[in-house]
């Protein structure tokens, strides 16, 4: 049974149908990719899967339990975490504080209005460990807004990781990164892949084909192809379209 499953999702904005009968399944311990051209509905799909938008029809299951229509916080509390294509950080906080407030331990104590969070060295060490995992050791005290672009991308992932998710969604993690940054990010995701179930939306096909165990291709709001990177390379539609161009 897949860890995460979406069945027959429909989503429209006004008269515009964005997702039409989309079904996806992500297996535990795998890195799954979602690809498609601009405007294909990838990010809308991500937003429906993670609770930002409510699907008009269809069902979403996580670990065998329906999470359809749940709010983002409820989905996050069940162990699903995500990063954003457009950077979504606590900009005035230091890198460490960004991660700190995302820790489940801190979340559980969220209504504690008395004890000093700055005195909680265990939580802070944990946050520092997460930062080190994404290559931000030494940047703990730097305000998020002062970090370089690639570092902010890494911090995005760190905040998502801090929640100790079972499933991590990454929305276009290479957006805006140069080739060197993309290589570093690929190494990081390859390392995370060993312990986490990951779903990545990506337009950089070379990046995605190099990491994913299985890829779903979305176009016109529908899943038009699915398979391993090797299978998709042989897919006539992918070969014909520009999508397959960078993958070989």
């Amino acid at each position: 049974m897949p860890l995460f499953e979406a069945r027959n999702l429909h989503k429209r904005f006004g008269r515009q149908v964005v997702l039409e009968d989309i079904s996806l399944a992500f297996d535990e311990g795998r890195l799954s990719g979602i690809m498609g051209p601009n405007g294909a509905g990838k990010t809308t799909c991500f937003n429906v899967l993670t609770g930002r938008y409510r699907a008009d029809r269809g069902e979403v299951l996580f670990a065998g339990e329906s999470i359809t229509g749940l709010a983002p916080r409820q989905i996050a509390q069940r162990g699903i975490s995500r990063s954003f294509q457009v950077m979504n950080l606590f900009n005035d906080y230091s890198a460490l504080d960004n991660v700190l407030v995302a820790l489940p331990d801190v979340r559980r104590r969220g209504f504690d209005g008395w004890h000093d969070l700055g005195a909680d060295s265990v939580a802070q060490q944990k946050a520092a460990t997460v930062l080190a995992r994404v290559g931000l050791a030494g940047k703990e005290r730097a305000p998020a807004k002062s970090l370089a672009y690639g570092e902010r991308r890494a911090l995005e992932i760190a905040v998502a990781l801090a929640a100790e998710p079972r499933l991590l969604f990454l929305d276009e993690p290479t957006a805006g990164l140069g080739s060197e940054g993309t290589v570093r990010l690929a190494d990081l995701i390859a390392e995370l892949k060993r312990t986490l179930t990951i779903v990545v939306i990506e337009h950089d096909m070379k990046f995605l084909f190099g990491l994913a165990d299985r890829i779903s291709v979305i176009h016109w709001g529908q899943v038009i192809a699915e398979g391993t990177p090797a299978e998709l390379r042989e897919n006539p539609w992918v070969r014909r379209s520009s999508l397959g161009g960078g993958a070989s």
Binding site: T50, R52, A71, P72, R73, A76, Q77, S81, R82, F84, N88, L89, F90, N91, D92, Y93, S94, L96, D97, L100, V101, A102, P104, V106, R107, R109, G110, F111, D112, G113, W114, H115, D116, L117, G118, A119, S121, Q124, Q125, A128, G138, E140, R141, P143, S146, V159, A162, A163
Partner: protein, 336 residues
């Protein structure tokens, strides 16, 4: 690993020590600098109101422009409890806090899903509703005259009771309440709850996606802030021996915003303290020379918002950063 131990907030920071020492000794030196006891009492009450308000504006980033309503509700609740229910200082003051918090909680139910300009407009609308009720509901609120002839009840500790009829005695009593609220607020803003509020201020979407019930935190921030405003309002009614519609007017709501912004509540816990001191002193000292003092203060407020929105506390922080970096302005840290 970096040394993270020094991130704890001091239990009694230097500004708190200076503030408490200044207030405690105020009766000894006030008259010598040409001021008077009641003025210090009033400043302290407005400091309390402004600190409570800043939990909402400075820490949660929620612009309430009708917060005078909860100050007023506290004043009326104190007066009504004293006149009609039980004349007991502790119960009446606790009642002022609870009634203001309850009304704050009720209003927050309707506005906590909003932010920005819509949030601000709704707070003004609700504030005006409270003011209108205070003016029109004669049989309960006394209409435009308000509730008059409130008594300064004694502070009865069971084994000993203190008479609060003199301004000096009431000042020390109010100081006790003020100190307790300041310590509690200081703890609150450094607690997980306070840190999450500030995270929500910076990015509601991200806070929701790491698992926080953003609506509930915003609701709680408003309720707590209204409760503290209610305590300040109760003390104000005690000091003035009356409660009247003007304390919950749009003017009061505007004054507290000006205090917080001019003082620098957006960048410092102590900003509202500076702002309240500055505002009431300006009212009394400038007001002694010209009836148009508020015009000059308003111009100062506009200049501050245009050129130094971080207020007096921001100027102080800039000066400290310049000094520590040998002239160059180092990058700003996170508001503490």
């Amino acid at each position: 690993m970096p040394n993270l131990v020094d991130r704890r907030a001091p239990l009694v920071p230097m500004p708190m020590l200076v503030l408490f020492a200044s207030l405690l000794t105020a009766p000894l030196w006030l008259t010598q600098v040409g001021l008077y006891q009641y003025l210090a009492l009033e400043i302290m009450i407005w400091m309390l109101f402004a600190l409570g308000y800043n939990l909402l504006l400075g820490y949660a980033g929620l612009p309430s422009f009708g917060h005078g309503a909860y100050f007023g509700v506290g004043a009326y609740a104190f007066g009504l409890l004293e006149l009609r229910v039980v004349a007991n200082l502790w119960l009446d003051l606790a009642g002022a806090a609870l009634v203001a918090a309850a009304f704050g909680a009720l209003v927050a139910l309707f506005i906590s899903h909003r932010r920005g300009i819509y949030y601000a407009l709704l707070t003004i609308a609700f504030g005006q509703v409270f003011w209108f009720v205070a003016v029109k509901w004669h049989s309960v609120t006394g209409g435009e005259d308000g509730l008059l002839n409130l008594r300064r009840l004694p502070a009865d500790f069971g084994f000993v009771a203190f008479d609060l009829k003199s301004n000096a005695a009431l000042f020390y009593f109010a100081f006790g309440v003020f100190a307790l609220v300041v310590v509690a607020l200081w703890r609150l803003v450094h607690s997980p709850f306070g840190r999450i509020l500030t995270a929500i201020k910076q990015n509601e979407t991200r806070a929701a996606f790491v698992g926080y019930n953003v609506w509930l935190y915003k609701w709680l921030a408003f309720t707590i802030s209204a409760g503290i405003s209610g305590i300040a309002g109760g003390l104000f009614a005690l000091a003035q021996q009356s409660a009247y519609p003007n304390v919950m007017s749009l003017h009061s709501s505007g004054f507290v915003v000006m205090m917080v912004l001019v003082g620098g509540g957006l960048v410092s816990f102590w900003g509202p303290v500076i702002g309240a001191l500055f505002f009431i002193l300006a009212r009394d000292l400038l007001g002694a020379y010209t009836e148009t003092w508020l015009l000059w203060y308003g111009l100062l407020f506009m200049a501050m918002v245009l050129w130094k929105p971080d207020g007096v506390a921001g100027l102080w922080q800039d000066w400290q950063r310049r000094r520590s970096s040998g002239g160059a302005l180092a990058p700003r840290g996170v508001a503490g």
